[in-house]
């Protein structure tokens, strides 16, 4: 069986988004001054249903449907629809396809498209459009070419398409729900770089849009799920400066946006509602299980000792200002892999850690480099370095920046990585990303018979069997100390409850609401 090809999935987006995080009013349009904002309106509720203004804390990378992040990407949610959608735990829900069947052994999917769907330019959406988009993602210059290049297509009629992979796919759901659909003709024209075209609930207004700063949309009343998108007008502003974000929220220029741990209390004190997400686990990845780069890391006793030098409650209380929760597992609560009731096998015990180091022959410690992207871990890095020093591990921060930063981080040069990394609603996918040899966060890419065999069994396992397999993998990685899980933390979405409500969570990354969550 071909190993689960690496670079697939929704989660590329998830991991990218999380990395990006680490790096770093309902009213009309950009013309809002405070006097014209909904916050100052006599009837804010009515205005809010007319128009929704959101703030993204980072920009999207243009309109190429192939490079859209999942993280707070409301412009993408607005313009594009998908063949099927994934909910917050990667279960498929209807999208362009109103029904579907997964092929035996997770070899593919047969999707039955809705009748009468059109793109925002009026052209009809059919199965050929679906095929063209998946082919686009499978093209050689696509980062996801390995995921989709080998797909075969069967289109018995314009409203039915079967996608078939050559091998069983463990992550069939995320593979099929990940692709924004644009028109085949538009894709061929190349014009999609200048203006996005989709069959989603909104159409972009390029005349009012300033790329990189503000994206303006108008609702499509003929969208099949229009009731789930109550706002007639949508504006998404890019506020990548925290001071600007907080100012805009407090003055009602935007209805909602993500704020940092440091600004959460200020936002709450000013009357904004806060929706907390816990989509990240702060941890140290120890991927060099064989000790190829750092021989000491190849010894399980050293990895276990590294787990014993941190006061996780203090991290949660002091470094994350109470917005975090100590954890012994890196998988998200409630996922298949998460083990309920597991006690921390490595409570803080410096003396025991020193004894383990001595037993392993590393009483005098060793030197390691801890990479960070643009110094974004300045709040926790000094503490981690200090605590590792307690067992004579002499860690130094290596700041990575520029265009090569992510590539360097994932190159395997630094097999010990401190990161605020996403914990996904789909733990199967997280196993793939972090524990399977092809996973990009398993930067050392070292195979492991126990984990790999169980992961591969997931392709044909029943849900009950799958849960057992995933928990076995989780327990194994805990026992072998493949990571040093510290705390669950997450993002904070601040919003004005007079202008918008956020009653649901449908983000598989659990980092921000999706557009369909705003009511």
């Amino acid at each position: 069986m071909r190993l689960m090809n690496g670079r697939r999935l929704t989660g590329i987006v998830a991991a990218s988004a999380t990395a990006a995080i680490a790096l770093a009013a309902c009213s009309g349009t950009s013309t809002d001054g405070p006097s014209s904002s909904a916050a100052g309106s006599d009837q804010p509720g009515d205005v809010a249903k007319d128009s929704l203004v959101l703030a993204m804390s980072q920009d999207i990378e243009g309109f190429d449907p192939r490079v859209q992040p999942g993280y707070q990407n409301w412009p993408a949610d607005a313009v594009w629809d998908k063949l099927v959608r994934c909910d917050s735990t990667a279960n498929l829900t209807p999208g362009i396809a109103e029904s579907w069947e997964i092929l035996p052994d997770n070899m593919g999917i047969t999707a039955h498209l809705r009748e009468g769907l059109t793109f925002s330019d009026g052209s009809v959406l059919d199965a050929e459009d679906i095929k063209a988009n998946y082919e686009y993602w499978g093209a050689p210059e696509s980062a996801r070419s390995a995921d989709y290049a080998d797909l075969t297509y069967d289109i018995p009629d314009p409203l039915t398409i079967t996608l078939t992979w050559p091998e069983p796919q463990v992550l069939i759901n995320t593979l099929t729900c990940d692709i924004p659909i644009t028109s085949a003709d538009y894709l061929a024209s190349g014009d999609f770089l200048d203006e996005p075209l989709g069959s989603g609930p909104y159409v972009i207004d390029m005349a009012k849009t300033t790329v990189g700063s503000e994206y303006v949309f108008t609702k499509r009343d003929d969208y099949y799920d229009a009731d789930n998108y109550p706002y007639a007008n949508l504006t998404v502003k890019v506020l990548d400066n925290e001071a600007a974000m907080v100012s805009a929220l407090k003055t009602g220029q935007v209805a909602g946006g993500l704020v940092t741990d440091q600004s959460r209390a200020e936002a709450e004190a000013s009357g904004l509602e806060i929706k907390d997400f816990q989509g990240q686990t702060v941890r140290i990845l120890l991927t060099d299980h064989n000790g190829d780069v750092y021989p000491a890391i190849g010894d399980v006793r050293v990895r276990q000792a590294m787990n014993m030098v941190f006061d996780k409650q203090a991290i949660a209380d002091s470094i994350y200002l109470g917005n975090a929760e100590p954890t012994a597992q890196y998988f998200r609560k409630g996922t298949d892999a998460y083990i309920d009731g597991l006690e921390d096998p490595y409570p803080m015990d410096i003396e025991k850690a020193k004894a383990l180091m001595a037993e392993a022959g590393y009483a005098d410690g060793f030197d390691i480099e801890l990479p960070s992207l643009d110094g974004h871990l300045a709040h926790i890095m000094p503490y981690v370095i200090q605590q590792l020093g307690e067992i004579n591990i002499r860690a130094t921060e290596k700041v990575l920046s520029g265009a090569n930063a992510i590539e360097d981080l994932l190159s395997g040069t630094y097999p010990v990585i401190l990161f605020e990394l996403g914990n996904l609603g789909d733990s199967t996918f997280q196993i793939y990303v972090e524990d399977y040899p092809d996973g990009w966060w398993n930067v050392s890419h070292q195979p492991d018979e126990y984990v790999d065999s169980r992961y591969e069994q997931l392709a044909t396992a029943s849900p009950e069997e799958g849960k057992v397999l995933e928990q076995e993998i989780n327990q194994y990685t805990i026992d072998n100390a493949w990571q040093v899980p510290l705390v669950f933390k997450g993002t904070h979405f601040a919003y004005d409850a007079d202008l918008v409500s956020v009653p649901t969570d449908s983000d598989i990354e659990a980092l921000a609401p999706k557009l369909r969550d705003f009511k």
Partner: protein
């Protein structure tokens, strides 16, 4: 004078070529890094290589620069590696925003600096001490601190001005004024602090000149001496300072645009530079150099107009 202008033009063209080539060369040699970054996490070596070829980064430096240069001459600055947006389109949206803040700030800097500098030099006493205190204080406080203070007072507390955002003049002139006022004030403080001190010094130097003593000895009144003679001669160093202020305003705009979430060129340039978005970086470099050259050119022209001696150099 015409010859001087021609020389200046040729010099400016040379500066433009050297600067843009230097910018290109500094980013050269990182083809796979750029391609990986464009593709994002999970890119395979094969897709990275395909991207390198697609972006044309596998070609020699001089070939890439020549292609960029010949296209730029025709107005085609290429597309962003990351967003696919036309660089010329991005610049046409972003440059007016930055200029909307910088040009009024520059004009007010010149005006206020002259007034304060002349008053400090001529009157001395309290106004002189104020100018010196303001110069030290205004230079010492970073403009983004001033910006945050202005937002807190005038946008959050009193709600007179918008906290963030920009409104084009063509969309709503009054909202445009409101949207640029706080960013402009944040830039103005530091610029005036430096400019007023320079004008004061230039005025004092000129007031101590022999010809001023002669004019006074001949019984000429103080007002014509200052406004017809001293100020004219002090204008040369003052205008040079104003033109240099443009550079600091462009630099300061990077921070101000972030605090006020202005869709200006500063943010575009820094964002592009961080990720080696070569076409976008080159576009912003070119525009920045052109703006600086134009300001210097105009300053030279004014100096030569005000001071005939300058035309002889």
């Amino acid at each position: 004078m015409l010859l001087n202008l021609m020389k200046n033009l040729l010099r400016s063209l040379g500066v433009l070529l050297v600067t843009t080539f230097a910018g290109f060369a500094l980013m050269f040699g990182n083809a796979t890094g750029i391609a990986s970054s464009v593709l994002g996490i999970g890119a395979t070596p094969e897709s990275v290589q395909a991207k390198v070829v697609e972006l044309g980064l596998d070609r020699p430096l001089l070939v890439q620069y020549w292609d960029w240069l010949t296209s730029a001459v025709t107005g085609d600055l290429g597309r962003s590696f990351y967003t696919g947006q036309q660089v010329s389109e991005a610049l046409s949206q972003r440059v007016p925003v930055t200029l909307s803040v910088i040009i009024p700030a520059l004009a007010l800097t010149a005006l206020i600096s002259v007034l304060l500098g002349v008053a400090a030099a001529v009157r001395g006493g309290g106004i002189d001490r104020f100018v010196q205190f303001f110069s030290v204080g205004g230079t010492a406080i970073p403009n983004f601190i001033i910006a945050i203070a202005l937002v807190f007072a005038f946008a959050i507390h009193w709600r007179i001005f918008p906290a963030t955002g920009y409104v084009a003049f063509g969309d709503d002139p009054w909202q445009w004024v409101l949207s640029i006022t706080l960013p402009m004030l944040a830039l103005l403080v530091g610029a005036v602090a430096g400019g007023a001190q320079q004008f004061r010094t230039a005025m004092l130097d000129t007031l101590g000149s022999d010809y001023v003593r002669t004019l006074r000895a001949r019984g000429m009144k103080e007002q014509p001496i200052i406004f017809q003679h001293v100020l004219r001669n002090a204008a040369a160093p003052g205008l040079t300072v104003v033109s240099l202020t443009m550079l600091s305003l462009l630099g300061g705009a990077v921070f101000i645009e972030q605090v006020f979430a202005l869709p200006g060129m500063g943010r575009l340039a820094t964002d592009a530079a961080k990720i080696s978005d070569v076409p976008m970086v080159m576009g912003t470099v070119m525009v920045t150099v052109v703006i600086v050259l134009v300001i210097n050119f105009v300053a030279d022209l004014l100096i030569q107009t005000l001071n005939p001696k300058a035309r002889m150099r």
